[in-house]
């Protein structure tokens, strides 16, 4: 039993210290460095004072807030209508629309930016549409908002789909009985029940836009934002102290969004009670037709953006010679060293998937299902949720400051694949952790009680009962890590070395060198890879569900 005692506490301690070293300490270094000069002497608020006095930097703060607010204002209504169409109307082929809406998750955000240059750039195929919206050029704020709305759309849709999935039919009946108009019913019944989802979706879109680096880099023109400033300070000028300051400024809006979201969610009450009657949409010909048209338009738009980049990658010389070529792929692989970067990305994403899923799931199990060392649990839970509020760029600088500090014995990790894997797992930890916790909470605590009374150590229960039962969730988490590791650049852009450069970063480099065709080719390759991995893993999940999870089907039938 001693072994079990140690295993229970040891697991917690291990997880707690891993999060502490790979998340909390790097972030703490950010605070320390922002108060120091280049020599490492304490200078109080001098760096912050200089930041405020640099007009270009102060301008970026406003630009960033404008960019994030506009993106949120565009994407939330767009996603809400889409989710509403799926959950509250009777349009056909809902599964297909839903899958298409989630496609942008597979693409690096740079793909959207590149695609919008092909679509609306000065030689864009749809350039004629720009003046209709009163725009002169796509570069700068308009292009950034469009590309970012595309990249955040699936995240907002997922949240809103969930929040619109349940409703109490009695409220709608009451509204109808009282003769409320459709608009009034929408304003007084539908919207209030979805407001928590709306706040969450808005905060997620806002946070993603605040910390986005690739989109402004590619299509931002002369519209500086904080994420670009951080990069310029740290990489361009190697001014780590100023980088730390801008990083903290970047952290502020993200943390505010996170806190608002957390406060609002806390007030959420159960919408459904035992007496509720689930709402099922009834057919309404005109409404369904309108929503179908909207959903088809949005789906065409999502597909169109991805296909435009794919098309650009096969065109010989945009826009003058549109004949088919594989030159951009050949150039990327043979001359620009992308083959190496692509292989690194596969290795990195594979490692993140396997190690990330193992740590996240085991970690969630240790936190939720084991006993003892209760003082550690709140600290671990807090650290598990923290990454959600930390922009990738900020995490990346924290890592440079912490792991490149000569007195730190962990400097051996600097410039290795390990640090890329660690930063990526930490960056995407929160959502994965929540997914694992949700799945574990669905399992009856009796399993642990029964094994305890049978004197079976908890880790046997874990490997023999919990993991097999939750295997679909574990695969979900692994896929989430894989797909995000393929597309992420924000943290790793500070951490890669010549030997560990990644595919998504090579897009950035090729775009910078003006090889936009090759950049589009690499982006297309990433989407294709992630799509294959997604389809294969969904297939595996399907097989598992069919073979070993028959018990789930009966519960669905109830």
């Amino acid at each position: 039993m001693l072994g079990e005692w140690i295993a229970a506490r040891g697991g917690l301690l291990l997880l707690g210290s891993a999060l502490f070293v790979f998340l909390t300490l790097p972030l703490a270094m950010l605070f320390v460095r922002s108060f120091e000069d280049r020599g490492g002497a304490f200078v109080g608020l001098a760096n912050f004072a200089r930041y405020v006095q640099t007009p270009a930097l102060a301008q970026s703060t406003w630009n960033t807030l404008t960019f994030a607010t506009l993106t949120t204002a565009v994407v939330v209504p767009m996603a809400f209508l889409f989710a509403y169409a799926i959950q509250r109307t009777c349009i056909p082929a809902k599964g297909a629309w839903r899958s298409i809406a989630l496609l942008p998750i597979l693409a690096p955000s740079l793909l959207a930016a590149i695609s919008f240059i092909y679509l609306f750039g000065n030689q864009g195929v749809l350039k004629a549409l720009l003046p209709v919206f009163g725009l002169e050029a796509i570069y700068g704020l308009p292009g950034m908002v469009l590309a970012m709305a595309f990249a955040t759309f699936p995240h907002a849709v997922m949240i809103l789909l969930a929040s619109l999935s349940l409703a109490d039919a009695r409220l709608y009946e009451a509204a109808d009985a009282m003769g409320a108009s459709a608009l009034r019913r929408f304003m007084t019944v539908t919207l209030p029940s979805a407001k928590y989802g709306l706040v969450s979706a808005a905060m997620v879109a806002f946070t993603m836009a605040v910390s986005e680096f690739g989109v402004p880099k590619v299509i931002g023109g002369n519209y500086p934002v904080l994420a670009i400033d951080v990069y310029k300070q740290v990489i361009g000028q190697q001014n780590f102290q100023m980088g730390a300051v801008v990083g903290l400024v970047l952290l502020a809006p993200a943390v505010v969004a996170f806190v608002i979201d957390a406060l609002v969610q806390r007030r959420q009450k159960a919408l459904l009670t035992a007496r509720s009657v689930p709402y099922a949409p009834k057919r309404a010909v005109l409404r369904d037709a309108l929503f179908l048209a909207y959903v088809v338009a949005i789906s065409a738009y999502m597909l169109g953006v991805i296909l435009m980049a794919a098309y650009g990658s096969f065109v010989k010389f945009w826009p003058y010679n549109l004949s088919f070529t594989l030159d951009h792929y050949r150039y990327g692989f043979e001359e620009a060293g992308v083959e190496h970067a692509y292989r690194n990305s596969l290795v990195m994403a594979g490692l993140c998937a396997v190690i990330g899923a193992a740590i996240t799931f085991a970690g969630a199990y240790w936190v939720e299902k084991t006993r003892g060392a209760d003082w550690l649990r709140p600290a671990i839970r807090l650290q598990a949720m923290l990454p959600m509020a930390v922009p990738g760029m900020v995490l990346g600088i924290g890592y440079i400051l912490f792991f490149n500090e000569p007195s730190n014995p962990l400097t051996v990790l600097y410039g290795t694949m390990a640090i890329l894997v660690a930063s990526t797992i930490v960056h995407f930890y929160s959502s994965s952790h929540l997914t694992a916790v949700t799945a574990l909470k669905q399992l009856d605590g009796e399993f642990e009680s029964v094994s305890a009374s049978l004197k079976v150590p908890f880790y046997k229960t874990f490997t023999r009962v919990t993991v097999p039962v939750c295997l679909p969730t574990v695969i979900d988490i692994a896929r989430y890590y894989f797909v995000n590791a393929m597309t992420t650049i924000s943290a790793v852009v500070f951490l890669y070395s010549p030997k560990t450069t990644l595919a998504a970063i090579s897009i950035l480099h090729m775009d910078e060198a003006g090889a936009i065709g090759a950049a589009a080719a690499m982006a297309t390759l990433i989407v294709a890879t992630s799509a294959v991995v997604t389809v294969v893993s969904l297939g595996v999940e399907h097989l598992i569900l069919k073979r070993t999870q028959a018990w789930r089907r009966t519960s669905v039938a109830n």
């Binding site: 007009p55 270009a56 301008q59 970026s60 630009n63 240059i117 750039g121 000065n122 030689q123 050029a137 570069y139 700068g140 704020l141 023109g221 002369n222 519209y223 500086p224 990489i235 361009g236 000028q237 190697q238 010989k316 010389f317 945009w318 826009p319 003058y320 010679n321 150039y331 043979e334 001359e335 620009a336 060293g337 000569p406 070395s497 010549p498 030997k499 480099h509 775009d511 910078e512 060198a513 003006g514 090889a515 936009i516």
Partner: protein, 343 residues
């Protein structure tokens, strides 16, 4: 598989991998080379060098001139590079002043023209080739928009070019910096900045590499891109409808130069790379990309580059440029960076 077996299996795989990698890695000297050379040039140079020295493996750390320069300066206390290759002489002069370079006279140094290497003896750095300003002028877009072909730098400040010009950001790009530095040396500080004020009115974007403005002009995104001759020729060869324009007042330029980092523990291998870098074989490779190489007589005529290209280059004082680089960039940033509104 039981966990114990799994670990033993992993350990044996790791041992095998180490055994396989060990001797191969031990035989080759690893040389870390910081560079701002174009990605599409690196491969040929590396293969050329490895033909002569297969026992030395180069790990390139590549970034734009501004970033590589900042990185090298930031690492001054504990440099990670062994050699700096293909970085602007202006930056090399800064490293030399900071005492970061190991003076070395590579074999055959006397062949290198005196103005293309550090004046000290032995020199802290040696030039490889000259790269200079070139405007990529998109004839198709210009015809569509009725934009005349410019002859001079001053032409670019005319209203006809409003929103049609892109140029490299001088803090990021070596090409961008020598443009600014040439205008200041050509016309003096007051007139130089006045010219740039006018040019700024017509600039659509400041881009972060010397290549991208030409690529943007080649793709018709903008009618004119201020760039350099290598990228301009590459884009034209790929089928871009561009003409190369060499403004009459004179062309900004810099040297791609090479030098050894003082702290290197691999001085022998580093010296071999320097010896090779000014050899005839290396010059032949540079001559495919640039009109002027550091050893006179080994240059070859490039398509689209005029025969009198050398005499069109401005007088460039590297020592002055190096000494004033920070000040020039700060002034530039103050004037043009804070006007952040997108055009």
């Amino acid at each position: 598989m039981k966990p114990a077996h799994g670990i033993a299996w992993l350990a044996s795989v790791a041992a095998l991998a180490l055994a396989a990698a060990g001797p191969a890695a031990a035989q080759k000297t690893q040389l870390t080379v910081y560079t701002a050379l174009e990605t599409d040039q690196l491969k040929a140079y590396q293969e050329g060098f490895n033909k002569a020295h297969p026992d030395i493996e180069i790990t390139w750390v590549r970034d734009s001139t501004g970033i590589i320069t900042a990185k090298i300066l930031a690492e001054k206390a504990a440099p990670k590079a062994d050699v700096i290759m293909g970085v602007a002489a202006t930056s090399m002069a800064i490293f030399a002043t900071e005492g970061m370079l190991m003076p070395y006279a590579p074999a055959g140094l006397a062949r290198v023209a005196a103005q293309y290497r550090d004046a000290a003896n032995p020199p802290a750095w040696v030039g490889m080739d000259v790269w200079g300003a070139t405007i990529c002028f998109n004839t198709v877009e210009a015809a569509k928009r009725n934009i005349p072909k410019p002859e001079t730098w001053r032409d670019l400040t005319k209203p006809a070019y409003k929103g049609q010009i892109v140029m490299p950001h001088p803090a990021s790009s070596g090409t961008g910096f020598f443009d600014v530095s040439a205008w200041l040396q050509l016309w003096g500080e007051a007139d130089g900045w006045k010219f740039m004020d006018g040019l700024h009115e017509n600039i659509a974007q400041y881009m972060h590499s010397g290549s991208r403005p030409c690529a943007a002009a080649a793709a018709g995104e903008y009618a004119l891109g201020i760039s350099f001759e290598y990228r301009a020729n590459r884009e034209k060869a790929r089928g871009a409808p561009i003409d190369l324009v060499f403004p009459k007042e004179g062309l900004g330029w810099d040297l791609e130069a090479i030098g050894i980092v003082k702290t290197t523990t691999k001085a022998d291998a580093a010296k071999k790379l320097l010896d090779w870098s000014i050899s005839d074989a290396a010059m032949a490779l540079y001559a495919k990309n640039f009109a002027i190489v550091a050893v006179p007589g080994l240059s070859e005529k490039l398509p689209n580059v005029p025969a009198d290209y050398g005499s069109r280059l401005v007088k460039n004082d590297f020592a002055w440029a190096a000494k004033n680089r920070d000040r020039i960039l700060a002034e530039w940033s103050k004037r043009y960076e804070s006007k952040a509104a997108p055009k």
